[in-house]
């Protein structure tokens, strides 16, 4: 195991204490004194990550590895990576199937016929750049938009 290795937490108690999903893999950033700093990405919020210190014996090495170019890129400014890490994963208030209402009137939605108070269903609750995918079905003008739309989570409320 070394810097850049891809690992999984093999110790279930440790994994649950850290709030990491069973299948989540992380990237080893540093190793020192029998412990490793491991970066875990939030599976539900793209781009959000945490860095946790894990005892080496609680980690299992994956066969796959980071490509050299990605490893070099990631470690070229490791201090910045540490600075932008969250303390813990953000918990989401929206989930697939939620009935939601648009609470703003914004041009970026209005140009597609989706106005304030439109109602829809969350069809993809993975947050990408602060947005989730909503299929609007009320009123008729909003329903006429024939795709799910990426909506900022702060522009929605659950009803």
């Amino acid at each position: 195991m070394k810097k850049g290795s891809l690992v999984i937490i093999a110790n279930e108690k440790t994994r649950k204490t850290l709030g990491i999903d069973k299948e989540a893999r992380g990237v080893v950033l540093k190793i020192r004194s029998g412990k490793a700093d491991v970066l875990f990405f939030n599976p539900k919020i793209v781009g959000e990550y945490i860095i946790k210190e894990v005892v080496l014996c609680d980690l299992s090495l994956e066969n796959e590895a980071l490509p050299k170019e990605i490893e070099q890129d990631l470690f070229s400014d490791i201090e910045s990576v540490y600075q932008k890490a969250k303390g813990g994963f953000t918990s989401l208030s929206f989930k697939n199937g939620d009935r939601v209402q648009l609470v703003v009137e914004e041009k970026r939605y209005a140009e597609f016929g989706i106005h304030k108070n439109a109602i829809g269903c969350v069809v993809d609750d993975t947050v990408v750049q602060g947005k989730i995918e909503v299929d609007f079905y009320e009123p008729e003008e909003a329903a006429a938009y024939d795709s799910a739309m990426a909506i900022k989570i702060e522009d929605l409320k659950i009803i």
Binding site: I70, F136, D146
Partner: protein, 194 residues
Amino acid sequence: MGIVDELIGVNERGEIISKDWVEWEHFMIPNKPKWLRDILRNSIALKGHCLTCTSVDGCYFVRSNMPEQALHPHCDCKTKTISYGIVQKNAKATSGIEKFRDYVFAPKHYGKGKVALFKSWGYTIDDSEALRREYAEQALIAYKSGQYKLKKLDEHGQQLAIPVSLKGKVFYSGWMLCPEGEIVLTTPFGGWIK
């Protein structure tokens, strides 16, 4: 097999289809396993690489019906030609029952707005599994025949509108295109075909 046979074929419905397909490629992003793909997408996004581009890496398109290259200045994406045999072998449609049970027929949504159509056609929550299968079957044939409409492409991925027929009515359903020919149902009713 002649050149024409390599480019044109006939699908299960006897319709003429194009066999000229490509796979979208962004360097360093594998098609699978999903966990590795997600780690690498996230890692290069930290360094400014485009999430929209990496979202379509590994996706299969008919050459005549794919996003315009380049997606943005200095775009790293390429396409490579793949055989129709690869498309036929790998393509699959994932239609989750929750799209019917927890959306169309869920009490909070049932009978409202555009999803009221399902109620008007006489469908109930008991039809969820049958609808799930019907959507998957129809959409897969349509996708492999190149019968899809490109919709929004963003950091979530490439959305497709794929025609589905129920009770003699034909309309679009919404799907997300994933690597290696997988399409995943996002919305059962995406609008009437105009």
